[in-house]
Symmetry: C2
Subunit: 418 residues, 2 copies
């Protein structure tokens, strides 16, 4: 075992001990700690901004773009917004202790299935330091100990934020080690976290596709895959084409950088002649580069030729792949082949078409006559989200606080024997 | 890619295609297929018994014990029982399509979270060929395509059973490739299944600890760990000692080979002098070898000395580790350290003690004044179980049909935009 591995595992062991004490805490104790964390962020905002200035200076020296620097930079106002987000998490219901199901068995045994924390949750994330406080708060509210592994670019900010949060916890009934930063900024420290099976209960990577795939590949700790979104909008033969136009444009252009943004538009051949000129014209006006098949390029000579790679690309940019399909089933087959199973939308006025699309498309969210952009914990009314799961085990789609829990069966008898 | 890898992946691809067709099938179609499978098992029982005779002959040649041979051996009566189990699964409710939650969002979007099949489920199992039909039926009922990888010792039986099941499916609306045997009996074929990430949605190992640990270690496909059970009974200072005696004896001796059998008995020091002579006497009468600490051996000189290894051993035999603890918290600490987090029991008449034990013990099932032997899908009223999960993600404890599903969000609007 290398030094960094030993160090990371020592931190994880402390997290496991903290998790044992954290699990039985009442909502009142946890909420008090969350509010103390929020107050401390505001009180210590200056020192956080000062630490952040070191990260910002390093980013500028490294020649990062101003957009990247802006994502990284903190002001006292931004720290205040981070504190507000922590306060909002305190207001959400506590998922722990909920009786998921319960009954009395024929022999009189009382059976209850109860929500319990997962235990130790590792979060590996990129970029913005607001995730540090956000992830810590979501973990604490759901009774989990948080092991935070941010990117090296925000290490000074993250270190200071975690110091402030732990300082706040020291004055409450929550163990300080409920929130810990994973030491080190090397690849080795992330690897050590991924290998801490038995100490860490789940790893949640938050960031780009490369990060997520690396964690899925290298981790022996169970992982919840989040976020990668090659989302599709399918305009059916029976679509209301006015709605279809607005939904396609909204799904692509309302925001380019989010995982629920549409990356491919599929158009039924029966409406292609009417629909394509309109939608391609609007997209061009909005500065979107269309990557189209032959039919699309015959309508819009400015469209570039779509390659095989385009169909599987999550652009996160003003680019859209557009294809004409022969049937709903062809659209479904295309989606089943290329989608990351995040969100797909159908625009149709046909009940039969909607029903078939919904039952055949195997994605975390299926939209009928609505923009793909609605797949979001906030939009779904979950109050907060730790990420959007694109896997099928444990949680699928936007993950709120209940998705950060497991369950336990409690069986009460009076000397019952088999 | 090796030949066997190519072969296994081809089978997995057929399973994935079958899963796509299987997901939208109604309960009626699936139940009809299950009943056809059961009928075919009965009709073809002779050919199954004949194939099984080859496995039995090989087992005898290899010098297997008669107990092992008996576990393997099929008769027409045993095949009939397997068919009956398939019929019982047909009678269970279909979990697919259940609306787990649903509401109308403030903007008018209709949000529904719906149970859907996982997709392709791989089962890696040992020994008895009845698992073949049982796993296939549970997968089919929950809308999943089954990839069955049994042990080489039952390969002839498993091959014939799967042929019979597929023959039955060919006459129904269910795709034949919903049930497939993974080709080959080598370690390589199991490994190829474990590496079929993207084709197989989940792997469920059913068998001994060594099998399960190997799958967890080597699989890139998500795994649900099942079955390993180092279960504890803790007799509290406030226990009704008559109940405690019966529960401890039942938990250990009602059946030795099951994962919910108790392997360690912890006794509070305040009741040790009264309780130990009784319980150790009864266990001796029943032929149980006690592995005890110094206090236990002072009461029962026939007890052997418990080593560090004993505390973490799942004996599955007439052996029991017995220890005297200073307090409830010491019992909890012992359990947190050595348990496989399957099932632990407390015997106590104290509400406070029960509450503390239940909230601090982090296992799939916690029994209060009941035998550990009750952790079982049948006992819990689930009708059937694919295994008992000892992990925290996705499913924990006995896994019935709902635990073999994922969910999907279906969001219906009328041209909704963000």
């Amino acid at each position: 075992m290398s030094d960094i591995e030993r160090e990371v595992h020592a931190v994880a062991e402390r997290a496991r001990d903290a998790a044992a004490d954290l699990a039985p805490l009442s909502r009142a104790v946890k909420d008090e700690a969350l509010l103390a964390m929020a107050d401390a962020l505001v009180d210590d905002a200056e020192s956080i901004v000062a630490a952040n200035a070191e990260d910002v200076a390093r980013a500028r020296e490294a020649g990062q773009s101003e957009a990247m620097v802006d994502r990284l930079a903190l002001t006292t106002e931004r720290v205040g917004a981070i504190a507000d987000a922590v306060r909002e998490i305190a207001e959400l219901p506590d998922p722990v202790g909920e009786v998921v199901r319960g009954k009395v068995l024929p022999n009189g045994l009382e059976l209850r299935q109860i929500r319990v924390p997962l235990g130790v949750v590792g979060i590996i994330y990129e970029g913005r330091p607001n995730v540090t406080a956000d992830a810590a708060a979501l973990c604490l509210k759901s009774g989990n100990a948080a092991l935070l592994r941010g990117s090296s670019s925000a290490y000074s900010s993250n270190t200071r934020i975690v110091e402030v949060l732990r300082g706040a916890l020291a004055k409450t009934g929550v163990p300080v080690d409920a929130v810990q930063l994973v030491p080190g900024t090397s690849r080795d420290s992330a690897q050590a976290l991924m290998r801490a099976r038995g100490l860490v209960d789940v790893l949640i990577p938050r960031g780009g596709a490369a990060l997520i795939q690396a964690v899925v590949r290298d981790s022996t700790v169970p992982v919840i895959e989040t976020g990668e979104g090659n989302c599709h909008v399918y305009v059916d033969a029976a679509a209301d084409l006015d709605k279809a136009l607005e939904i396609a444009v909204n799904a692509k252009t309302q925001r380019y950088s989010t995982c629920n943004t549409a990356e491919t538009l599929l158009v039924h051949k029966h409406v292609a002649d009417v629909f394509l000129p309109d939608v391609l014209g609007r997209l061009r006006e909005l500065g979107v580069t269309v990557h189209g098949d032959a039919k699309v390029r015959s309508v819009d000579p400015e469209a570039v030729e779509a390659t095989e790679e385009d169909w599987s690309t999550e652009y996160l940019s003003p680019d859209l792949a557009v294809k004409v399909v022969d049937s709903l089933d062809d659209a479904v087959a295309h989606i089943r082949r290329y989608s990351t199973a995040h969100t797909e939308a159908i625009v149709t006025d046909s009940q039969a078409a909607a029903r078939r699309f919904v039952s055949r498309v195997d994605s975390a969210a299926v939209m009928v006559n609505a923009s793909t952009r609605f797949t979001d914990g906030g939009e779904f009314g979950f109050g907060a989200e730790i990420g959007i799961s694109t896997q099928k085990l444990h949680a699928r789609g936007p993950m709120g606080l209940p998705e950060m829990t497991s369950t336990k069966y409690v069986v009460t008898g009076d000397g019952h024997l088999r």
